[in-house]
């Protein structure tokens, strides 16, 4: 103040300009104080920033006003404006000789910068000098600045000086030095980085014990001598507390010191100046209690040693003032944390009763919190406080209510253990109910998320009946679906699937009602052309849209059990389709699930001839089905999907159409009614795993000249001999055009066998390698392939090493058929194993493919493939598993391998249907080499285990165990085959993201993909059959790897799309860490539909690993 006066006087002498500048700060404060709005404030500060820029860049800057400038800068910073223009100036002021300027500059720097800022480097010298200053105020200032600005890189430069300051005669300096060391300790808590080998703890102990002696000198009312200030001890306590939290073991020997200090503090033996409202040094007491809690946790003898002092502290504190309550509360927390002591617990319970009876919200809050601690040890403790707890639960205060909910949540868990299931259940239900009520009104996202998690947890644990669970979880989805964990959706579906028909019916009805509500809202809006009410009506706006997670569940349930609904199938259909009206932005995944649901619904309600089937199959625009409200939309949906950019959607749509075109027997086999929980025995699965039905096929392939399967190990050895280990730089040879075309039919069959062994160059020429060549007409498109492959696969996948290792002889057959225009989906298996999404890209070979990107090539391809318009029926591609081992199709790219041998491949291909089973690419190792051949038609189906080929859910013939189904399919095929369409080589690719046209494959260099690939492959054909087996309960959704076979399969069939999907994504991870696969991925993956039997692999864990080693998955995933 005085100095200000002097300045004013000086200002009067120097003139008006100075006076004006002198008032700048006051003006600023006044302006800020008078601001009425944020905008006004921003304007004031912007002006100030301009002014400061001008002032600070002025060469005639008045240094004596450095402090004022710094304070003004801090205002700008606090109010949210950038002050970086002044950082350098602040650094300069920090070395100013005026203590005010210096302090203000340090303060400003600690506010502006953090320790990662490079400017701090410029400050280090100043800082070190100041730490050695004679003026203890400056030393303190520098030490405080060090606690904010020194980072790991600079610790070692400053550390020695700070340690020296621990012996400074002034206690303020010692205190600050301890805290600076505390900061350094936090930078490197484990002492393995910058502070490796430094023993900070030693200093802390010294400072503590040193001071502690002071504390226990009675009558320590004096102040200052050297080493006589409890405040230094208090600082050391802070530092030790953090060390102890990290690892209490080395500090057990300090327990006597701590208890002794606490005893003396609580006995009022510190100077009176430490009192706060007549409580002796309460903050030190609280810190000590925290330390004791950390030391006594789970340590019986330690807990016994501190019992007496805890008791004393508890007794001496009282609730006459809040700070007394704070100490009591801390005591209770300590008592409930350390090894339980019955007497202490009883005393704590008494104290809590006082809190809970209080009228103060704050005390009740901590009372509830403390009660939670006690009930964890003694569940019955809460009983006597029931009334108080319920009052808190009803309290309008959100914080209190939340805290109480948390308490109840903890209590239910404890109850379950102690009091038996009955009590736990009762509590659980009450709490779930309360939580749901709260969820409905709460808007804070963090809290909602937490509540959703808890409700799901409790509901799962205490559900009195499946029906209750279904209702509750569905409600949770509705209220807070955006926070529901994907796994909960899976669990819900699984649970529904396992129940009986009455539950299925009630679930269907419940979901239909949910949809009724939605569509009522949606249709109230003007439904414009094409059915899109863009603006939801007020009612709809109020009612939240159903989140996607629940819609997926609904789709699955209505698809699987929609036929049980009390309303006619068409009404169900219109509700399902109505989802899209209400959710314009529905994801492809949802659309995919919807398609599958429609297919299932149709299959269960009379097939193609049923009302739903008719609606699905009708041509767009022709509404012969006037009564069904959704008929028009359905047709539109299907039509859109047929031409969708999304391969998966295309595929599903094509599959749907094709399936409905099949005979009822096939349809029933593909989409069985309520078969999601079928059971497989491990034996069945094992049997499937050996792929017995492929033997014939393999034999044929061998006869035709294909190379025998070599297990990966052998392959590796071979590669080792000559082959290049590094990258191969020379280009692959172009594919030979010369390969015989299959002139005969309109369609081409491409079957090629690659023999990778042959020189690397050989890759390009698929035909050449295998004897199969001749037999299999090469598909025209194949030549295009190389380029494509490159694109799709990405350079890395090409690695020679992989190439070499790849199996040779992979056969892939893809058939393209010329189906009437749209019908035939080409199969592609894109396995996108990409980590991210796991989306598959499959392109349909049909004309639809034109729409997709990469027009020129694609068109060319399409033209070459389909141009002739094969007349045949639409067929799909089937890929057969090549000789067993083969599967490795390629690499990032897919390699297709060729099909097999016999000349007229076409005819044989077994299923013309949609089935695509892709080649099971996976684990070569496991399959016995010989196995694979597929003999008879039926073989198209690959055993589940293999790859996930089948993922595609639908179609899946029952894989393994389900020979029957497959056979039936097989039967059909031939007939179709006759039509001739079928051709070739199916392709499978799994590469990351690779999409291939069916044909392309052959060319692709067979690269081996890291083991991982296989799973996804299956996209191709499709939708098909689900084989329904779901393994027992667990199966559906939970990709528990452990389950091995059961699971894998389960997925497939089961819950169709939804459920199945889950496994997919995880795969990538799965590979890496096998067991964990879980669901996480599920939703994420675009593929909802396809279920990749991730699990399929389960059964063969060992092999997997070996495979993995052979080709690191890493490649794929990047």
């Amino acid at each position: 103040m005085q100095s200000k006066l002097e300045k004013v006087v000086a200002g009067l002498k120097t003139g008006p300009r100075f006076l004006k500048e002198l008032r700048e700060f006051d003006n600023l404060v006044k302006a800020i104080g008078e601001c009425k709005s944020k905008a006004e404030e921003d304007r004031v500060i912007s002006q100030e920033v301009e002014l400061l820029k001008q002032r600070l860049s002025d060469p005639k800057l008045d240094k004596s006003r450095g402090k004022e400038y710094m304070v003004r800068l801090m205002y700008c910073d606090i109010l949210g404006h950038d002050t970086s223009f002044a950082y350098v100036k602040a650094l300069q002021f920090a070395s100013d000789s005026n203590i005010h300027t210096k302090k203000a500059a340090y303060l400003a720097l600690t506010q502006f910068l953090d320790y990662n800022n490079n400017l701090v480097l410029l400050l280090v010298n100043t800082l070190l000098l100041d730490m050695k200053s004679d003026n203890y105020l400056i030393v303190c200032t520098a030490l405080v600045a060090a606690t904010r600005l020194i980072g790991p890189d600079l610790v070692n430069a400053v550390y020695p000086v700070v340690v020296e300051r621990l012996r400074h005669p002034n206690e303020h300096v010692r205190k600050k030095a301890v805290m600076a060391l505390h900061w350094f300790g936090q930078l490197d808590p484990r002492r393995e980085g910058a502070l490796a080998g430094v023993e900070l703890e030693k200093h802390f102990r010294t400072m503590l014990c040193d001071k502690a002696q002071v504390a226990w000198e009675p009558g320590g009312t004096h102040g200052r001598g050297v080493a006589q200030d409890p405040s230094v001890m208090s600082a050391a306590l802070c530092a030790l507390h953090d060390c102890i939290k990290l690892d209490p073991r080395p500090y057990k020997n300090l327990i006597p010191s701590f208890t002794s200090i606490l005893k003396q503090v609580s006995e009022h033996r510190l100077p009176k100046t430490y009192d706060y409202h007549r409580f002796p040094a309460p903050f030190i007491q609280i810190k000590l209690l925290k330390i004791l809690a950390a030391l006594g946790a789970g340590d019986r003898s330690a807990a016994e040693n501190m019992a007496a002092v805890l008791h004393q502290t508890l007794r001496r504190a009282n609730t006459s003032h809040t700070i007394g309550s704070a100490i009591i509360y801390e005591c209770v927390r300590t008592i409930t944390t350390i090894y339980p002591n019955p007497q202490l617990l009883a005393a704590a319970a008494e104290s809590i009763a006082t809190f809970l009876r209080s009228t103060s919200h704050n005390l009740r809050y901590v009372g509830i919190d403390a009660l939670a601690g006690i009930t964890a040890l003694n569940p019955s403790a809460a009983a006597e406080h029931q009334v108080a707890v319920l009052d808190c639960l009803e309290d309008p205060d959100d914080t209190l209510k939340l805290k109480t909910l948390e308490l109840l949540y903890k209590m239910t868990k404890a109850n379950n253990i102690q009091a038996g299931h009955g009590a736990g259940t009762r509590w659980g239900l009450v709490i779930v109910d309360k939580m749901m009520g709260y969820l409905g009104s709460c808007t804070d996202e963090h809290i909602r998320k937490d509540i959703v998690r808890k409700v799901c947890d409790l509901a799962e644990r205490y559900a009195p009946s499946p029906a209750w669970f279904v209702t509750t979880i569905s409600e949770v989805f509705r209220l807070g679906g955006e926070h529901v964990d994907e796994a909960d959706g899976n669990r819900l579906v699984r649970l529904i699937a396992e129940q009986d028909a009455s539950l299925h019916t009630s679930a269907v009805e419940a979901y239909l009602q949910l949809l009724d509500g939605e569509s009522a809202a949606a249709t109230a809006a003007p439904v414009g052309g094409g059915g899109g009410g863009a603006v939801p009506p007020p009612k709809g706006a109020r009612r939240k849209k159903l989140p996607e997670s629940i819609l997926l569940v609904i789709c699955w349930v209505l698809g699987e059990f929609g036929h049980l609904a009390r309303r006619p199938p068409l009404a169900v259909l219109s509700r399902l389709v109505g989802i899209l009206t209400a959710h314009k932005a529905a994801s492809d995944r949802l659309r995919g699930c919807l398609l599958t649901a429609l297919a299932k619904l149709a299959a269960h309600t009379g097939g193609a001839a049923g009302p739903v089937g008719q609606a699905l199959l009708q041509k767009q625009g022709s509404h012969h089905n006037a009564d069904g409200g959704g008929a028009a939309e359905v047709a539109e949906l299907v039509h859109k999907c047929l031409n969708s950019q999304s391969l998966e959607l295309q595929q599903r749509a094509h599959e749907l159409q094709a399936l409905l075109g099949c005979s009822p027997a096939v349809l029933a086999a593909a989409l069985p009614v309520d078969a999601s929980c079928e059971d497989f025995s491990p034996q069945d699965l094992e049997q499937v795993a050996t792929l017995p039905f492929l033997e014939g096929h393999v034999a044929r392939a061998l006869a035709a000249g294909a190379a025998p399967y070599l297990p990966p190990e052998a392959r590796g050895a071979r590669a080792a001999d000559g082959a290049s280990k590094g990258l191969r730089f020379e280009a692959y040879e172009p594919a030979p055009y010369a390969i015989p075309l299959a002139a005969a039919s309109t369609s081409y069959a491409a079957a090629s066998v690659h023999d990778t062994r042959s020189s690397s160059a050989a890759t390009a020429a698929p035909a050449a390698g295998g004897g199969a060549g001749p037999a299999a007409p090469q598909s025209a498109p194949s030549f295009a392939e190389p380029q494509l492959m490159i694109k799709t696969t990405g350079g890395r996948k090409w690695g020679p090493a992989q190439y070499e290792t790849a199996d040779y002889g992979g056969t892939s057959t893809s058939s393209s058929h010329g189906a009437p225009a749209a019908t035939a989906p080409a199969a592609v298996a894109g396995a996108a194993l990409s980590k991210s999404g796991g989306t598959h890209h499959s392109r349909s070979g049909s004309a639809a493919s034109l729409t997709s990107q990469a027009p020129s090539e694609r068109e060319r391809l399409a033209a070459s493939l389909f141009g002739g318009g094969s007349g045949g029926s639409g067929t799909t591609v089937i890929s057969k598993p090549a000789p067993a081992g083969q599967r490795q199709v390629n690499g990032g790219a897919a390699v297709a391998t060729a099909a097999v041998g016999p000349p007229p491949p076409q005819q044989r291909n077994p299923m013309d249907l949609l089935l695509d089973l892709d080649v099971p690419t996976p684990p070569p190792p496991q399959r016995p080499a010989g196995t694979a051949t597929a003999g008879p038609p039926g073989q198209g189906i690959t055993p589940p285990q293999l790859g996930g080929d089948w993922m595609d859910s639908l179609l899946h013939a029952p894989a393994g165990p389900a020979p029957p189904a497959s056979s039936s399919l097989a039967g059909l095929e031939p007939a179709r085959g006759g039509v001739g369409s079928f051709l070739g080589p199916a392709t499978v690719s799994n590469g990351a993201g690779a999409m291939m046209y069916g044909m392309m494959q052959p060319l692709a260099p067979p690269q081996q993909q890291p083991g991982g690939m296989p799973p996804v492959m299956g996209m191709s054909g499709g939708m098909g059959l689900n084989v329904g087996m779901v393994p027992p309960p667990g199966g559906i959704m939970s990709p528990a790897p452990g389950h091995g076979p059961g699971l894998g399969i389960g997925m497939v069939g089961g819950p169709g799309a939804y459920g199945a999907a889950m496994p997919l994504q995880p795969q990538p991870q799965g590979w890496q860490s096998q067991q964990q696969q879980p669901m996480s991925g599920v939703m994420g993956g675009g593929m909802g539909l396809a279920a990749a039997p991730a699990a399929a692999r389960g059964p063969q864990p060992l092999p997997l690993q070996s495979q993995r080693q052979a080709d690191p998955f890493g490649d794929l995933l990047g």
């Binding site: 606090i78 949210g80 105020l137 505390h182 810190k287 103060s360 919200h361 209190l400 963090h446």
Partner: protein
Amino acid sequence: MIKFLLMVNKQGQTRLAKYFAEFLSTDERRALEGEVVRKCLSRTDKQCSFYEHRQYKIVYRRYASLFFMVGVDDDENELAILEFIHCFVEVLDKHFGQVCELDIMNEPEMVHYILDEMLVNGQIVDTNKTNILEPVQLLEQAAA
């Protein structure tokens, strides 16, 4: 530990902000303060002085037109923090004599210095008023 301390008036204008241990960018701070303050101002006397926000627990106390808000982690004793705020205000009062919002606005650096004596690294190191004010008063004398 204490993560931050805010002084905000009842119009929601920030008067002082101090962060410990974690460094937030200007924009992050602005967003955080906005949310914390909005929640705080919407509470009534009938509610307790604590609430949760993101990973923080906020403990606040009102003095006339000024709110003191302290963000702490899960480990802190809420009642103790509540009393710490009061202790801080008592120290300010002793230093300024009948402290008011304007005092804080006029000499924010003093408030910071006092706070630096009481809180370091987000830990309460000293609540002894004599200890706290000694260096501060010394500094004022140095000014003369």
